[in-house]
Symmetry: C2
Subunit: 780 residues, 2 copies
């Protein structure tokens, strides 16, 4: 919803406090700016010093009791809470007003949007102003406080703005000969790149109205804010020039992850992200520069920003958590040291988090890939210690897994994956054996388990399907399926394969490594959970009694890579309730910090930990990264997990879950996406299959040339990336006009929400997806 | 310098603005708290309602002009700037006062330290109050503003405190029936875990002094702040209990990096870090709980927090940068996208940073280890493309390096290192050849190049030494040494070895991987830079013309791992000026973010980049991490690099450099450590050798059992870890009383400063090291 018009410079005016002279300085700015547009007050209209038809002022909401806006609104509403204008309506009306104004002028024009009170004064609904206005992301002028205490007020207000990412283009305040705040503030803010301008204070109010008008007019005439206005104009131009130049400069200097630069044809192929808030990126569109529409467009972050988002972008509570830890600690060197954020996070993960009831230790690292390296080091060592292997035998160990797995891009994590597709490199040396998995999908409204050839041969059929009302949750009802004929097929096949591997001369298997339920990077492959559960069971059953040497893990150490699937991404805190079996080691990242900064953890059971425990330094887990358990990341994670637990108990989650209880039985399978929409999609002609679980929606489109390099899903859904400006300036209610940013994995398009994405936003996204696919269906 | 006494609860009182009632509410708190101690004002003394001998008030600095303290101080100083009390003196006088007070009482007592004006009101010197008091890290009571605009002022003040990590235990403000700020603030702060208490405002001032006294007394009698005081007492107890329990809880849940848990004997072996600021950790010492000394002790961060610190802990500018980016973006999904912090950082690194004049691309990742994996993937691919290798040939490639190298703990980074010492694991498969390096050290005041046996055999001598005045900088003067006989020895030996390797049947070498100058984790091994330079030269000279297929790199792609040694850690922005040769790929992390959050970059020349450039997606560098180029990290890095460039041009750097110009010739070899101290150390009996470069000081102690698991350096220097409380309460001047936290690598103890560590702090640390070693010398 951010607003930026080339021909129409807008600045928002915040006060460091109430009664600091916002209206007077706004008036002075309008006079210095010359013709056009402004908002708020009679005073401005009277003193703007320009022909009335060249200057417009408007006050969109006016209250007559001089108290904080939230109180004024309460008083005006006479105690009826639903008469108070909600924040999003308030914001949309401002946004629409600005858009309409921008579309009415063709030449250069300006607008000053004066806010009420101080930066954190409550709005009508009670949210504070700088939070409420944040989605508009207007560059800001801060009016400082020239009174005693005003230095403090001005700096604090600046910091509050900065905590919300605001661009602050200028600070204005009255000159006070006694307190001389401006003298202190000028160098203070110069060091921070902001120009402070001090202006003479207005004359005392005269008793006589005419004299008052005249003296006020003389006062305005004496001021010269032209340099300030020129500076604002320059900043506006610089910002546009910067945004314009960013694609070219990025193409020339960045080396993007996973991007073939040879396919980046022009500047248009680069997404310039100017800011983000909640579920929306604010994306620069150079095409709009010559038009009367905003150059910044709202784009729904349809991939949850590479699967990291849980609470939306720029969540103030996460920013404050980051600031708090940074301000208290900076860095803490972690070996044999402790600090509250890390300890509390470890305890939370073990006692109330995904490690509950099985894990006893938390090892910190920086990302999913490093945390998987740690997990592998743990598992291989535990196995080696139990089996009392020698050095060379240890080097030859392999892992058991599933084809299509992805555990990150460092070589160790890669080596735990089969070499297939494009995810390989010179030193990738896949070590182990990987099963072709049976997969789950919804096709024509019906849940289907599709068997790979080897399993199909054993089962003597290609797939299993269920046509009852609750068919979609059937596959996730493991208690109902553990004794099914298919379970027996899986059991026999896995046992038989493992028997064969033991005599094959391949690497000795030392760990079972799974991405439970969904192999994300492998192409959003939904693996039959029954297969994974039986895999765990069979591996453990082959080793009847725990070893005395290493405690209670059996068979192979089992690693769950929950980097993508954990922490409610699929609707549950961990995948353990789906599979009904806990791992010995699990790995978590992405959502862990609510999508703000890198941090990862590897959880381990006590028996795994004991494999490293001795009095020999050389037998310790000699792994670490400089920023291990960095306080900022841990504090943000604590805050994120706290907010997430609140979110998952919220009304929208209850409603969404209820919608998926198709036969009245609650299931672990549910989604924020509407089941009717999912079912309908699965019936479209150009859609092969669909799946939805938790926040994830995956759509596989018809394409003979499937695989990672296919462009078919991109092509089919391209239209939803395009912003529709036509209806925008008249938008009402809560949902802004937006296009949809999404990612594809070959012929699979996937969409992912945050845990707190508004239901209306999801419904709108569903409509857009539906229209794009349905129209394509009709056209073909 | 943080203060925390079990028997003596201290709270600092900050105001959301000036004139909000701090003194009145402090008085009320003192009355409710009962006997003891307080600071500031006549008003408190008069109305505290307790026997005079039970309550003390003091005002340490008093000015008579009611303006901001910095102005009052200026006025009192009569324009003589040096008469204004500097911040550290100011702070030390408060700290000493508090310590003396704490030592005078034995039973439970309390102190309220009332500050002046608002949170950001300037102190005497002009630094704002919350910055100035931050090292004391006292828990805080915020007095809110009950007037119009006071909601905003209170929240902003809270946020400013939070940006400095302050613990805020309570908010107090007057009840105002008209503006009702407290009604808004109570739920607002309840959500943030802080109790807001509203108190009746004092009666209007009576004209008659006696009547005034009486009405004020009645007013105080009517207040009941006992619940607030009880809450403060509870928070104090909770904080102590938390600190007390942290070691045990950490031992029970954390899995520390590089730590053998079997060697962690008791709670005392765990360092509890309560906060940190500039170069000091504030460490909890449970032993002090029953004594009249602070339970928190200042410990000089002598390892620069695992080699990450550049500007000190909790630097406000870095916190604000983190907050700014978090508030503006949160996360940005990076493939084919761009945002200002990442782009500006890339441009800075390429145009004014370590990539200047040779690199054209920046690839972002999360830590040194992942960035090295990226570097290796780049180099191996570039080599494979030029040599047109097939799949199996590509897997068999190796690297050329130096023994003792360390590039991180992910398997790929490990595989680029020789398998030696303890840094190994099950999947470590060292691929390549590593030279035994000649090393550099200072022994008995004289610089020595020590040759390993193979080189000594060629040279027919074991070492080279120089006894002139500038002997210490001699080894780093490569232009003077390139034509020396030793250079010829190196050249022949390297050529001969490489010839041999080509016919050895070992892995084909595809990259030269170096930690220039110092191999840190390998044991602070200072490699003779001449050897590394000639290694680069020989490798390149063996390949006379650049390949048409891959542009202008020659021989092997050369990787500089500058994670530890770069970004001024050794006194220069990069190691290129030392070696006189640029790499094709370089890796940077640690200092990159000023020691706040994980972020790493791999820089590459255009010819390396071109090896991946095509129209085939599968040929791209398919590597990435979810938080690649996270805006918070990039913004912090931009801020850190900006501040660092200022720092390296500062007076302390110029002074330190001049001190090392022993014969008047500026050298690339210089250090923040004093050369006389370094030389003297090298002459001690129990010291084998010493080296200093930039911020690093390395001391190898005599030990027959050297190596990573040796404890000799730990034992020898143990005494400097102990805090000396005796002189503390009478400390004056700028340097607080501190002990020294340091790390060892076997028989090597090393010390590392930030780039901006105060010279006085370094001198004090030198004294402590000197005393510890000298006394041990005498004792032996």
């Amino acid at each position: 919803m951010s607003l930026l018009f080339k021909h129409f410079r807008i600045h928002q005016i915040f006060g460091a406090n109430t009664d600091v002279g916002k209206t007077i300085l706004t008036t002075a700015l309008v006079r210095a700016t010359g013709p056009f547009q402004d908002a708020d007050d009679e005073h401005i209209r009277r003193h703007c010093g320009a022909p009335q038809d060249k200057v417009h002022t408007d006050c969109l909401y006016r209250f007559h009791v001089p108290v904080s806006p939230h109180l004024a609104a309460q008083i005006a509403a006479g105690g009826e809470a639903d008469k108070i204008v909600p924040d999003d309506t308030f914001l949309n009306s401002i946004s629409s007003y600005v858009r309409r104004s921008a579309s009415r002028v063709s030449g250069p024009a300006h607008m000053y949007l004066e806010t009420a009170g101080g930066v954190h004064s409550p709005t009508l609904s009670g949210v504070t102003q700088l939070e409420c206005y944040r989605p508009l992301f207007l560059p800001t002028i801060l009016v400082g406080d020239s009174r005693l205490g005003g230095i403090s007020a001005t700096i604090s207000a600046y910091e509050s703005l900065l905590l919300r990412g605001y661009i602050i283009d200028a600070i204005l305040l009255f000159r006070d000969q006694y307190y001389r705040n401006s003298e202190f503030l000028m160098p203070y803010f110069a060091e921070r790149g902001i120009e402070v301008t001090a202006v003479d204070a207005p004359p005392p109010k005269a008793v006589d109205a005419a004299e008052n008008l005249a003296s006020t007019e003389r006062y305005y005439e004496s001021l010269n804010l032209l340099p300030v206005v020129q500076n604002l104009d320059m900043r506006h131009q610089q910002r546009l020039a910067e945004l314009d130049s960013m694609p070219r400069r990025s193409i020339d200097t960045l080396w993007w992850p996973f991007v073939q630069h040879g396919l980046v044809k022009s500047e248009k192929d680069v997404t310039v992200i100017d800011s983000a808030s909640s579920d929306f990126f604010s994306v620069y569109n150079a095409q709009n520069a010559g038009r009367s529409v905003s150059s910044l467009e709202a784009q729904f972050d349809g991939s949850a920003s590479w699967w990291t988002q849980a609470l939306g972008h720029a969540h103030p509570a996460l920013t404050l958590a980051a600031a708090r830890a940074s301000g208290r600690y900076g860095h803490v060197m972690f070996p044999q040291a402790t600090h509250a954020p890390a300890l509390l996070l470890a305890e939370r993960l073990l006692h109330d988090g995904p490690g509950k009831d099985w894990a006893s230790r938390v090892f910190f690292s920086d990302d999913g890939s490093t945390a998987m390296e740690v997990a592998l080091k743990m598992a291989l060592r535990a196995f080696s210690v139990r089996e009392q292997l020698e050095g060379t035998e240890r080097k030859a160990l392999g892992v058991l897994g599933i084809k299509g797995s992805y555990h990150g891009d460092t070589i160790g994590a890669m080596d735990a994956c089969a070499e297939e597709g494009v995810f390989t490199c010179e030193w990738h040396n896949a070590k182990g054996y990987w099963f072709d998995p049976p997969t789950v999908s919804i096709q024509e409204g019906c849940a289907i388990v599709t068997l790979p050839p080897a399993l199909a041969a054993v089962a003597a059929k290609d797939d299993y399907r269920m046509n009852t009302t609750n068919s979609m949750s059937w596959v996730y009802d493991l208690t109902g399926r553990l004794d099914s004929p298919l379970a027996q097929v899986y059991r026999e096949y896995i046992s038989h394969t493992l028997d064969g591997l033991e005599h094959s001369g391949g690497p000795r298997l030392a760990a079972l490594v799974l991405e439970p339920l969904v192999m994300g990077s492998g192409g959003m492959i939904f693996v039959d959970p029954l297969f994974q559960r039986i895999l765990v069971d069979v591996v453990r059953e082959r080793d009847p009694a725990p070893s005395k040497l290493t405690g209670d893990w059996r068979g192979l150490p089992v690693i769950y890579d929950e980097v993508f699937v954990g922490l409610y991404r699929l609707g549950m805190q961990s995948t353990i309730p789906f599979l009904g079996a806990a791992p010995d080691i699990s790995v978590h990242a992405k959502i862990l910090t609510g999508g703000l900064v890198p941090l990862a953890v590897t959880l381990a059971s006590d028996s795994i930990f004991r494999a490293f425990h001795s009095t020999e330094k050389a037998e310790a887990l000699l792994h670490g990264h400089s920023y291990t358990a960095h306080p900022l990341g841990c504090e943000v994670a604590n805050e994120a997990l706290k907010l997430i637990e609140k979110e998952v108990r919220s009304e929208p989650w209850a409603t969404a879950k209820a919608r998926w209880d198709l036969d009245g039985t609650p299931s672990v399978m549910w989604s924020l996406w509407d089941p009717r929409f999912v079912r309908a999609l699965s019936c479209l002609e150009n859609v092969t299959e669909v799946m939805a679980l938790g926040t994830v929606l995956s759509i596989k489109v018809n394409d003979v040339q499937a695989g990672y390099i296919s462009q078919s899903a991109q092509t089919l859904l391209q239209s939803i990336r395009i912003h529709d400006h036509d209806t925008e300036s008249f938008a009402s209610g809560g949902v802004p006009q937006f296009s949809v940013h999404f990612r594809t994995l070959g012929n699979v398009a996937y969409f992912m929400t945050s845990l707190n994405t508004a239901p209306e936003t999801i419904r709108t996204a569903e409509d857009k997806i539906w229209k794009a696919l349905e129209i394509k269906c009709l056209a073909e």
